[in-house]
Amino acid sequence: MRMLKILLWKELLQIYRDPAIIRILFIMPMIQLLILPLAADYEIKNINLGVVDHDHSEYSRQLVNKIVSSGYFRLKDYSATFPQGLKAIESGRTDLILEIPTHFERDIVKDNRSSLFVAVDAVNGVKAGLGGAYLQGIIQNYNQEVRTQWIQAQRFDEQPTIEIASADWYNPHMNYRVFMVPGILVMLVTMIGSSFAANNIVREKEMGTIEQINVSPIKKMQFILGKLIPFWLLALLVLTIGLLIARLVYGIVPLGHYSTIYVFATIYLLAILGLGLLLSTYAQTQQQSMLVSFFVTMIFNLLSGLYTPIESMPAWAQLITRFNPVSYFIEVMRMVMLKGSGLADIRYQILALIGFAVFFNGWAILNYRKRSG
């Protein structure tokens, strides 16, 4: 116990003396949480629209007006021919072209049918998909309006249509910040957990002080705990700062209990710190440990469900996410914050994380040797 106290005293003193750590610890979460949620938004706005109108009719103008007034599109190009419109896409001025054929209005009125052509620049897949879908939605809506105008005359010919009413639960306003902030918070805590402790141990290797430790009667467990506990506390501190920012800046108040988040974070950090520790037992220089932990956390973050839903990943990738501690924490954060889940609801995730913690730490302890072969 006394040994551990001495180790912790020394570790905290060193952290306190290192201006870089303090700065990174407090400034990084602030900046990430203040900037990322505002920028990392899935909603697509400001889609640049090009129109090729061969009809120049009342209806075609109404349609274009309706599209532009939706707020998602900006009319950037109005070409006479399709090849001209395509040039605008090629030069990057527009993202999609809506081509309205000649006799658009006449065909609707006379034949009750007409067609439109939409060409989308699909280099940015998300923008293309959503832009096309928005446009389709607006055109359908317009179609409905036109139809109601004409249906009054012949009301016996009513076509059966199914209308869908949807209710968005747990995040009723589909607010992306509510969805992103907890995820970004997880990313932050993960970065601190996985790279700070690892780097710290590798630094002792580089400085040669680890040899002085290895030649002393300090036990392996004491040394490792002496390294884990300070960073465990720091990560919880950053989590607290993050939750405060979420509450004060974004007004995100978890529906569940803060205590549920902390209980889970505590276990989660044991797993992530164990991973960092494991990396440190293999790395010889800080550069190595930085690069490896950067690589690992990047994969973890991309496969965590933070940016893209896990359910839409291919089956093999979904399997990988089961071995990714980050995905569990993001899931739990969202469950607790948005759905108000309690400990009983996340017991499966807790068990999984305990498994990770035992695995990573066990491997690290086995691999850390005071004596070389």
């Binding site: 003193l13 040899e211 002085q212 002393s216 005071k370 004596r371």
Partner: protein
């Protein structure tokens, strides 16, 4: 009078793959002795020392340090030795006082004893008033002397010094050796590697390593007589020229 042996090795060997760093080395070090370990770079001095400290596992042979077996009781050995590595290894971002407190603490010294030791040490090193200086800011000579004093802060039976005076000016080296003598006077056995031949002459006995083997082991006076040389330099050159391994 037969003196007690604190280090005994028998055919101690360390191989790294095909390379035999330490080759069947047998010797004994007596209690309170200043035992010099001399050899060219790459002769195997550091490897031999690391095995005795429990930092490296021997490939074959036997050794006991302070009465404990290096294979099975390496953690016991660690309680009874001090070690100062070639690479300076105090915490540069801690102060002098904090370094003393940390290293004394991990050897289990009580707070009160740590305070006494700190005062004694600061006085001995003429560092009173500087105890709140970060070690980073100290000149190399000071750092080395401090590192030595910290290596023996827990009064070990043996202290292992791996080229403790590398890169240090002659005056500081002399001061360093007076610290060594003072520690030896208190009964601490000194096991020291060096390439400085004048330092070899300060030792009670010297062993000269060539290509992983001990080629000569005796008091400096006997060695000089045996090799008909006026200084240890001459002895060393005669032996080291036979080396087939090149230095690092």
């Amino acid at each position: 009078m037969e003196k007690e042996n604190v280090i005994v090795t028998h055919e101690l060997t360390k191989r790294f793959g095909d390379f035999t760093a330490v080759d069947n080395v047998s010797f004994a070090v007596q209690k309170g002795e200043i035992f010099g370990f001399i050899g060219a770079n790459g002769a195997g001095k550091t490897t031999a020392m690391r095995m005795l400290c429990g930092l490296s596992l021997p490939s074959s042979g036997t050794a006991t340090v302070a009465g404990f077996d290096v294979y099975k009781q390496n953690e016991q050995i660690k309680k009874h030795i001090g070690y100062m590595s070639q690479k300076f290894s105090l915490y540069e971002d801690l102060t002098i006082r904090e370094n003393i407190r940390f290293y004394a603490g991990i050897y289990g010294l009580r707070d009160e004893r740590i305070r006494e030791k700190t005062d004694l040490l600061l006085q001995q090193l003429h560092m009173k008033g500087a105890e709140r200086t970060l070690v980073r800011a100290l000149p190399l000579g000071w750092k080395q002397k401090l590192a030595f004093s910290i290596a023996i802060v827990h009064d070990p039976a043996i202290v292992f010094l791996d080229e403790p005076t590398g890169g240090v000016d002659p005056i500081t080296r002399r001061e360093f050796w007076s610290l060594i003598y003072e520690a030896a006077g208190r009964g601490i056995t000194i096991f020291v590697t060096t390439h400085y031949m004048d330092e070899a002459e300060y030792c009670n006995r010297v062993s000269i390593m060539v290509d992983g083997r001990i080629d000569a082991l005796d008091s400096p006076a006997n060695l000089m007589q045996q090799y008909a040389s006026a200084s240890m330099d001459g002895v060393f050159l005669q032996l080291a020229r036979k080396a087939k391994r090149s230095g690092d």
